[in-house]
Amino acid sequence: MIIDCPCCGPRPVSEFSYIGDAEVEKPDMQAPVADWVEAVYTRTNPRGTHLEHWQHLHGCRQFLKLQRDTLTHEIFAVELAGVYASGAGE
């Protein structure tokens, strides 16, 4: 698999680390336990298109949001997530 990192260009998947399901709602700090149980343990595990967080661990270390097909492994979109996501941070 090859991921087209917005910072570094197309790089082999071995440079990246899978972080987790990007469709899970991140609970607020003060959210009740039930919300955290949902966020930490419950996964839809879809067959088909899925949003995922990856980190370019052995590269720019940026967090990426991928739209990926879990069946064919085709990657439809890659964008920066986190601090440098469009509209976030500085």
Partner: protein, 990 residues
């Protein structure tokens, strides 16, 4: 020349003899020969024994379709098993061995399995040996595996060299036959970066050496010119290279065989190179394999594929027999028969199962002077180790029989395109009625993948060449290059064009062999269908049809055809079994490449490593790091050394290299807020110049890591982590910042390698520091417990923090890595009067276990702060990461584990990993917990350990044992507080 060579030019160079051995006997081949062609030329026909019945087997295929002639090359650590004799060129001094025979190939005692064949039906082993209990299968399995098997893998380390490499191209063409060459020409003429890959050592594939012409030019000449043109256009041509798998993102796995045996000149050159090829486009031009025909004893040596017989003659000047009988169900074998006859071989009979054949076929049979039996069928091949005669009968009048003398029965059951790589991409092949086989529907492929030649349904020479060229043009168009004009090649001979007639299952013996490698017969297929395993994937698993290194290359089509007749299904509705990588067996050596031994992973050394090495320290790997385990004095054991080192810390002073601790600079206006959220205790209130011990939790509330963070400035913290946890903690911080709190103004940099770290511990540590850094005040007032100070020197800033892992008065000294050895030696020389000694990880462990501090043994990712009795560190006033899920009641129940200290009652050492149980060795109860760390305690003169034991078990504190049933050790233990020594912490407050 030997009796099986014919006088005909070929790629074999008769001026260059090559000597090799087969099962210890010496043979002579010539440069250009394969093991198979050289042995056949020498009159060797018996190559191996079959998988299950140990039947004699010879060569049946021309190249990679060979299912029988599997060999091992080399011996001992250099042995490579399960190679096809047809694919390996002979090399001087090569040692070749047959497989799956005992004691010898000719006299194989296990061939009695043939007599037991009626018993050894599909599923026999499972049915017989797996019931009534699973135990019986475990008892019999090793014996069954020994009797039924392929070559043996050596258990000794392979010291031969292998390589790995990455390649990139615009278009990867898989298959260097005429189709692939034509595709390469079109793509290269368009200016694309072309890679052409083939598993043979000659170009032209199955057409190499064929006497034909292409658009008026001799075929061999066209191949030669085209290859030269490709080279001139800068294409990369890799022969003897198998693309064994296609993976996501246009990644192809390939192995290039550079040599089959180590060189004799003592220079270590790589034998194989593993290539990861990333291609924008790929063209599958992988050709087709001929199918065998079905009759009794169809696996006997001397029975081979018709085009294989032709191939051995054309390419290696080898005659496969002196009385050749051709048996076919299609036209292609007539072409092979003609070429064999024209080369002077004796083709006596042509047998065709079809009720009638074209006039062209009839005239061809007349032309070669062979008797022509149309509408006839071979019933049986006769012979013990080799074909001697063939029994035939007329299909519509089975009383009409003949017995024909023959030493080579060349068979053709039609052609089976090599669709494996398309199958790797998840594409389901479609049935082609005219071809009688499964091909690739180009529309089912992703847009960057193309097919040409037999895989796309073409079998004759001109359409393969034209189709290949067209595929190259298509790629050029898609990549925006200017393609050349299409070509319209013509050929003189080639296919006449009537497609195979499938064998009627009713006319076949149950004993006909379908899968030559796995010994699957028609009887097995029938049994599987009767027992309900009639789907192709079920059939495969039940009968092993299409398994093994062969992957059903020559068996799939025949088996599927018979299966549909048995079940009444339509063949076009059948989905063949999914092929999976690798296409051919791949050595682990090639996949690993040079990443073996010391090169398996990076090695990290501390700045003071050379000093430790010069002292002869015993080193130990900790993750990627190498750390001193103990500094053994002459004659000292490890145990004696660490007891001395730890004792010296308690009595005088010791120095330990802690450079391996993870160090992360956490900086920014919100650094304090951030640390407050990731640590369970307060950090925002930590004053500048102070350090604090902190605990970090995962999302689920379990402990991730612990360590200290030092506040160096208003917005500047230095976080330390455990040696093993550094990477995970860094990623944890980055994840929380990026995905949870991107608004916080904080950043992280790993500075582990920037700092050398040393711990100076012991009651005399203050005086050592005072001498080493004269003029600096290390008094309790100037540097209290948890205080951090910085000392400016000409070479850089040195940080000293008063932190204690050992429980003694202790300091951690961090200096720039380049100063590490200088400061280390300085401290040692200034500490000489105080009795300073270096100490290693064993003593470090002993000291911290005496204090009850947790480390790697306890922090295994399954423990909560409550388990570790660190719940006092959980702030009640603020939120911290992991807090919500720590509030689950189950984490505080009676069955939860609690950290305790253990003392061995009989002063015998404990073992980490032992389980804590009630009851003596004769009647141990269930596990109540486990021992996480052990040591001898010099201070207590006891064998002690830390353990995590269930809360409910702690209420009854007698009769407990640390049990290690694997080692047969059962030690009576006493449960105590994990703070074995100085629980109030007086010693560090000096």
């Amino acid at each position: 020349m030997t009796s099986f060579r014919i006088d005909k030019p070929s790629v074999v160079d008769f001026e260059t003899p090559v000597n090799f051995t087969f099962d210890g006997h010496s043979y002579r081949g010539f440069a250009g020969d394969t093991v198979a062609s050289a042995l056949l030329a020498n009159g060797v026909y018996l190559f191996g024994r079959s998988f299950k019945y140990h039947q004699p087997r010879g060569v049946m295929g021309a190249h990679v379709e060979e299912a029988n002639a599997l060999i091992t090359i080399g011996r001992g650590a250099h042995a490579e098993p399960n190679l096809q004799a047809t694919t390996i060129p002979v090399a001087e001094g090569m040692e070749v061995f047959s497989q799956n025979r005992w004691p010898s190939l000719k006299l194989d005692l296990l061939s009695i399995n043939q007599l037991a064949a009626p018993l050894l039906s599909a599923g026999f082993y499972y049915k017989t040996f797996m019931g009534p209990t699973k135990r019986s299968w475990m008892l019999y399995e090793p014996f069954i595996r020994r009797a039924a098997g392929l070559g043996a893998v050596s258990t000794s380390a392979d010291d031969q060299a292998y390589e790995k490499d990455h390649r990139f191209c615009d278009v990867l063409i898989i298959g260097g036959g005429v189709t692939g060459i034509a595709a390469g020409l079109a793509a290269a003429r368009s200016g694309l970066r072309v890679m052409l890959v083939d598993d043979r050592n000659v170009w032209g594939g199955q057409m190499a050496g064929v006497d034909d012409d292409l658009s008026g030019q001799p075929l061999d000449q066209w191949i030669g010119h085209s290859i030269r043109e490709l080279q001139e256009l800068g294409a990369e041509l890799l022969s003897r290279t198998t693309v064994f798998g296609v993976y996501d993102g246009h990644v192809h796995g390939a192995v290039q065989r550079l040599a089959d045996v180590s060189s004799h000149d003592g220079v270590k050159r790589p034998l194989q190179r593993f290539l990861k090829i990333v291609a924008k486009h790929s063209i599958l031009a992988t050709g087709a394999f001929e199918n065998p025909m079905l009759f009794k004893n169809n696996s006997l040596p001397g029975v081979m594929l018709a085009d294989t017989a032709r191939h051995f003659m054309d390419r290696f000047s080898v005659a496969c027999g002196k009385q050749i009988v051709i048996y076919t169900n299609n036209d292609s074998a007539y072409d092979a028969a003609r070429r064999l006859a024209e080369a002077g071989l004796n083709v006596t009979t042509l047998i065709d199962t079809r009720p009638s054949v074209s006039a062209a076929c009839q005239s061809l049979a007349r032309h070669i002077g062979a008797s022509h039996l149309v509408g006839w069928q071979v019933e049986k091949a006769h012979g013990r180790h080799k074909v001697k005669a063939v029994s035939v009968c007329k299909i519509d009048d089975r009383r009409q029989k003949q017995r024909i003398s023959s030493d080579c029965l060349a068979v053709s059951g039609g052609w089976n395109p090599v669709v494996h790589l398309a199958s790797h991409m998840g594409m389901a092949p479609v049935y082609s009625e005219p071809m009688g086989a499964f091909i690739v529907d180009p529309d089912s492929l992703p847009c960057h993948c193309h097919v040409a030649g037999p895989v796309a349904g073409s079998l004759d020479l001109p359409s393969c060449v034209n189709g290949g060229f067209a595929a190259g043009i298509k790629v050029a168009q898609q990549l925006g290059s200017t393609p050349p004009d299409p070509i319209e090649a013509t050929a003189m001979h080639g296919f006449i064009g009537d497609w195979p007639m499938k064998a009627d299952v009713e006319t076949l013996s149950e004993k006909v062999m379908l899968d030559f490698q796995n010994d699957v017969t028609l009887g097995d297929i029938k049994l599987a269908v009767v027992e309900g395993y009639s789907a192709t994937e079920h059939l495969k698993r039940y009968t092993t049809l299409g398994m093994g290194t062969d992957q059903g290359r020559t068996s799939n089509i025949n088996a599927i055809s018979l299966l549909t007749q048995l079940t009444g299904q339509q063949i076009e509705n059948i989905r063949p079994t999914r092929f999976r990588p690798p296409f051919t067996p791949i050595t682990l050596g090639a996949l690993v490449g040079h990443h073996v031994g010391d090169h398996a992973q990076p090695t990290r050394l501390t700045p003071m490593h050379d000093w430790h090495a010069a002292q002869g320290a015993m080193m130990v790997p900790v993750g990627l790091w190498w750390r001193p385990r103990a500094y053994l004095k002459p004659g000292e054991t490890l145990r004696e050394a660490y007891i001395r080192e730890a004792g010296n810390v308690r009595e005088n002073v010791g120095i330990c290299d802690v450079s391996t601790l993870g160090k992360i600079a956490v900086q920014g206006p919100d650094a304090g807020v951030f640390l407050d959220r990731v640590y369970t205790n307060n950090f925002a209130t930590l004053p500048v110049g102070k350090a604090r011990y902190g605990l970090m939790l995962r999302d689920d509330g379990m402990v991730l890591d612990d360590g200290t963070s030092w506040r160096l400035g208003e917005n500047d913290y230095l976080m330390t982590t455990t040696t093993g946890g550094a990477g995970a903690v860094m990623q944890h911080l980055e994840r929380l910042h990026n995905l949870y709190w991107p608004d916080l103004r904080v950043s992280f940099v790993s500075v582990t390698g920037q700092w050398a770290g040393m711990s100076v511990a012991g009651p005399k540590s203050r005086q050592v520091l005072g001498k080493a850094f004269s003029g600096t005040d290390f008094s309790d007032a100037a540097l209290p417990i948890m205080g951090v100070m910085s000392i400016q020197t000409a070479s850089g800033t040195i940080l000293v923090a008063r932190l204690s892992f050992s429980g003694e008065l202790a300091y951690e000294v961090f200096c720039p890595a380049c100063m590490g050895t200088e400061i280390w030696c300085d401290l040692l020389s200034h500490g000489a009067d105080s009795g300073i000694q270096p100490y290693g990880t064993e003593a470090l462990g002993a000291l911290r276990i005496e204090k009850g501090h947790v480390a790697g043994g306890e922090l295994d990712g399954r423990v909560s702060p409550y388990n570790l009795r660190l719940d006092g560190m959980l702030s009640k006033k603020k939120w911290f990461f992991g807090k919500p899920l720590l509030e689950r009641d189950g984490l505080y129940g009676d069955d939860q584990y609690r950290l305790v200290g253990l003392i061995s009652e009989d002063k015998q050492p404990l073992q980490a990993g032992a389980h804590v149980v009630f009851g003596d060795k004769a009647s141990p109860g269930p596990s109540q917990g486990w021992v996480s760390s052990v040591t001898y305690s010099p201070s207590l003169d006891e064998e002690i350990g830390l353990a995590l034991v269930k809360k409910q078990a702690l209420e009854k504190d007698t009769g407990m044992y640390a049990a290690n049933p694997v080692a047969g050790i059962h030690r009576k233990v006493r449960i105590v507080s994990h703070h074995f020594l100085d629980p109030e912490g007086h010693r560090m407050r000096l």
